[in-house]
């Protein structure tokens, strides 16, 4: 039993295998509906159409006209060898073959022949689950499916809007699944050892060893590498990657954004000069290349199918990964059955923290920064009386923070919860202290929609002014050597949750020349998030001290 776009081809196939009759279900159906019926017949031996669908279906049998093979008998196996561990639409298969310079026409028939041989599988881009509810088979989501008349197939056809950025996924577009072909061929150990131009710190060495063990033992499916901000978690992940590469395993290093992938490509290529490192992202020149180590955005992982023995996910909590179940689905599907996932983050989700507390998720801690100084612990400033921000004079506690930073020769990053408060606070500070600190103006604001965002951040990096007011936009990714942190309205828990506060606090004290930064949380009350963030940082310092990582 199967699906076909060309019954003649099926008949040719089955006739060669001695079959005498083939039954066809009429009329021809859109792929999504045909796949639903096929699944129902396969699982239950009978089917009822999804709600609202009425079709006069009948089985017609007898001899079919066998179609001559429109391709050379070697072509299917050539195509199969080119693509492995992928889930692709027809146009993507075409592109993948073009990249590897294989000839592949008429491709749909060649792929169908492979399907008949049981080497690949296919299904509609969007189909129906066993309850008759539409679901996208590319991204696994069912929340943004739109039903509408389709000009391509002429039926009412479901299409998915969750994964549109990778091209349309519709009920009438076949999605081909190419199971992975590669076996395990161990590589030379020397080739797989990462070449670093610096020595690992004791904390990194320990974590590196644990990560290596996670892969070599292969007992756990998932592991969290929980590192302090700026502790060098990527280098620690090299331990796991090196071990996997040594065993001949396929490795995917996934990042949330393409800028990170581009940056990591250079770092990984210099760490493993003897191996082929391939980076895939929106706009990358090639999207279907094979390599020993694949770097990709989480979106690109949607095109892989059970290919990798090890998936390393960098900044697992960062946007868009944090908010998108589709990307987590993609990463889990890209992993082979029995494969492993290593999550790298400084701020794991609540769910992950819970799993760590219950010992149901293996965790590797990296609690100290390479300079060996403790992480700056946030101090809470809760005004007892007055202390209102944005009106009247600047509260003395805030002024004291600014003066302390000035005395230490540091700059200050001031975090506020909303875009509107950036300009509001900027005006207020300048009105109260027109030229109190160095730089003219001494304070400037910056947020995601700011027209001169890059210019303002650049000027702050060059120490052309004293204080930068910003939103959570700069909670990660920006490193200023000598900076103190002041979070205003820290009680706004919807914005300043535990992870955000830990990331913000992690901006201070990163540089080896200025390892002792200061962090202040200014709010009208101590929220659970503030307390938890402070607790997490203290716990990391305690762990680092206990293990002897601190100077």
């Amino acid at each position: 039993m199967g699906l076909t776009h060309n019954p003649g081809l099926d008949w040719t196939f089955w006739k060669r295998r001695g079959k005498r009759e083939m039954l066809l279900l009429f009329p021809a159906l859109p792929l999504s509906l045909a796949y639903f019926i096929f699944q129902e017949l396969k699982d239950k031996g009978e089917f009822s159409l999804p709600p609202g669908v009425k079709l006069p279906l009948e089985w017609r049998g007898g001899q079919q006209a066998a179609a001559p093979l429109p391709f050379s008998p070697l072509e299917p196996s050539q195509v199969r060898r080119q693509i492995s561990g992928r889930i692709l639409f027809l146009e993507e298969v075409q592109k993948a073959l073009m990249e590897s310079r294989a000839v592949g026409a008429p491709l749909e028939d060649v792929l169908h022949w492979l399907y008949l041989q049981g080497e690949i599988d296919f299904r509609p881009g969007v189909g129906y689950d066993s309850q008759g509810r539409p679901i996208c088979y590319r991204c696994g989501q069912n929340s943004s499916i739109v039903l509408g008349e389709c000009g391509a197939c002429g039926f009412v056809c479901p299409s998915c809007e969750s994964c549109l950025s990778l091209g349309p996924s519709r009920g009438c577009r076949p999605l081909y699944i190419f199971p992975a072909l590669e076996g395990l061929t161990p590589r030379e150990e020397e080739l797989c050892l990462p070449q670093l131009n610096f020595a690992l710190t004791p904390a990194q060495e320990d974590a590196y060893g644990e990560a290596k063990e996670f892969v070599s033992q292969g007992k756990e499916g998932e592991c969290l590498l929980w590192a302090a901000c700026g502790a060098g978690k990527t280098e620690v992940a090299y331990g796991a990657i090196a071990e996997a590469l040594k065993q001949g395993k396929k490795v995917l290093y996934a990042c949330p954004r393409r800028e990170v992938v581009k940056e990591m490509e250079g770092r990984m290529a210099s760490a493993w000069p003897g191996l082929k490192v391939v980076a895939l992202y929106g706009g990358s020149p090639q999207k279907f290349r094979e390599g020993d180590l694949i770097l990709a955005t989480a979106h690109q992982a949607l095109r892989f199918y059970q290919k990798f023995h090890l998936v390393v996910l960098d900044e697992a909590d960062a946007f868009p990964l944090s908010a998108d179940p589709m990307l987590h689905y993609a990463l889990r599907r890209a992993r082979k059955p029995g494969g492993q996932i290593l999550w790298l983050t400084a701020t794991p989700s609540e769910e992950m923290r819970h799993m760590v507390r219950r010992n149901s998720l293996k965790v590797i801690y990296l609690p100290a920064r390479p300079h060996g100084h403790p992480l700056p612990v946030p101090e809470f400033i809760i005004p007892f009386w007055g202390g209102r921000l944005g009106e009247g004079s600047i509260p003395s506690a805030v002024l004291r923070c600014l003066k302390e930073a000035e005395l230490a020769g540091a700059q200050v990053m001031i975090f506020v919860p909303s875009v509107a408060q950036v300009s509001c606070m900027e005006r207020w500070f300048l009105a109260q202290i027109p030229s109190g600190f160095w730089g003219n103006p001494w304070v400037r604001g910056c947020h995601a929609g700011h027209p001169d965002r890059e210019e303002v951040i650049g000027a702050f990096r060059e120490r052309r002014f004293f204080a930068l007011i910003t939103t959570t936009l700069l909670e990660r990714g920006v490193t200023i050597p000598h900076v103190y942190i002041l979070v205003l309205f820290a009680h706004e828990e919807k914005i300043f949750d535990t992870n955000t506060l830990v990331q913000i606090a992690g901006r201070a004290g990163r540089h080896r020349d200025y390892p002792q930064g200061k962090v202040w949380f200014y709010g009208y009350k101590v929220t659970p998030s503030m307390a938890e963030a402070q607790g997490q940082i203290r716990e990391f310092n305690r762990l680092a001290r206990q293990r002897g990582y601190l100077k």
């Binding site: 739109v146 000009g151 549109l164 950025s165 519709r170």
Partner: protein, 241 residues
């Protein structure tokens, strides 16, 4: 637990364009401000609807030279957020934008065309080849959504009898030559005395809607008003005039 909570306290409706929460209007204040801010500096040409700087005459240089056989209006200039939305809808295939974008057309109908009430909505057709690739006709989706809101009939009366290449980046003269005779009304249907609202996504030179309007008027339509999502801005008379 989460399910019960969200059932008891459903989250407020979100803006279809940016995802932020909105009030009772079909989009949020920020998006509406961005989509309607052009009215502070520009006004539409009385005939073709292309946008002119405020203070300039009622007609654009094109219409002064050769008035078109229709009146056209658009929801705004082809730039910024509107351009992004049209791109997302038309080329990326985000069909769910059809309804909110049709609401923009509805706003134009009430605001700029003083609540004009046509007899029939007609979408500009797509060539069968392009329909197969794109899988939907964006003008048809817009017309259907708008017709649903207005309680008016929509009929895909026009047929594209000549396939034309994409008109993007072509000169006005070439566009006009390419689309001449490209459309005709289905069958031998007469549209005696009927007021037609022709729907398209973007008005660039007016060549496509001009050819459609001619076909409709030849079939007896009393008048054709064109409504599009976006149109061009005329800053100064072009050199080829």
């Amino acid at each position: 637990m989460k399910g019960i909570f969200s059932w008891l306290f459903p989250s407020p409706p979100s803006c279809p364009f940016c995802g932020r929460s909105r009030g009772n209007f079909f989009c949020c204040d920020c998006c509406w401000e961005e989509l309607s801010s052009w009215r502070r500096d520009l006004h539409p040409c009385s005939l073709c609807g292309r946008l002119l700087p405020l203070g300039e005459g009622k007609l654009c240089p094109f219409c002064e030279k050769a008035p078109p056989p229709f009146i056209a209006r658009a929801a705004g200039p082809y730039r910024g957020l509107l351009k992004e939305l049209i791109w997302e809808f038309k080329y990326r295939g985000r069909r769910s934008l059809a309804f909110p974008l049709s609401q923009l057309l509805g706003q134009v109908l009430f605001r700029d065309l003083k609540g004009y009430r046509p007899d029939l909505l007609v979408p500009v057709p797509l060539s069968s080849q392009r329909l197969k690739v794109r899988s939907f006709n964006q003008a048809e989706l817009l017309a259907s959504s708008l017709a649903l809101s207005l309680g008016l009939p929509v009929e895909p009366l026009l047929l594209r009898v000549k396939d034309t290449p994409p008109l993007v980046d072509l000169s006005p003269r070439t566009r006009k030559q390419l689309v001449q005779g490209a459309f005709r009304v289905e069958g031998k249907r007469r549209l005696e005395g009927r007021k037609i609202l022709l729907i398209d996504d973007v008005f660039t030179t007016g060549a496509t809607v001009g050819a459609c309007a001619e076909a409709l008027l030849l079939s007896g339509a009393a008048e054709v008003i064109v409504l599009t999502l976006a149109t061009g801005i005329i800053n100064s008379p072009p050199s080829f005039l």
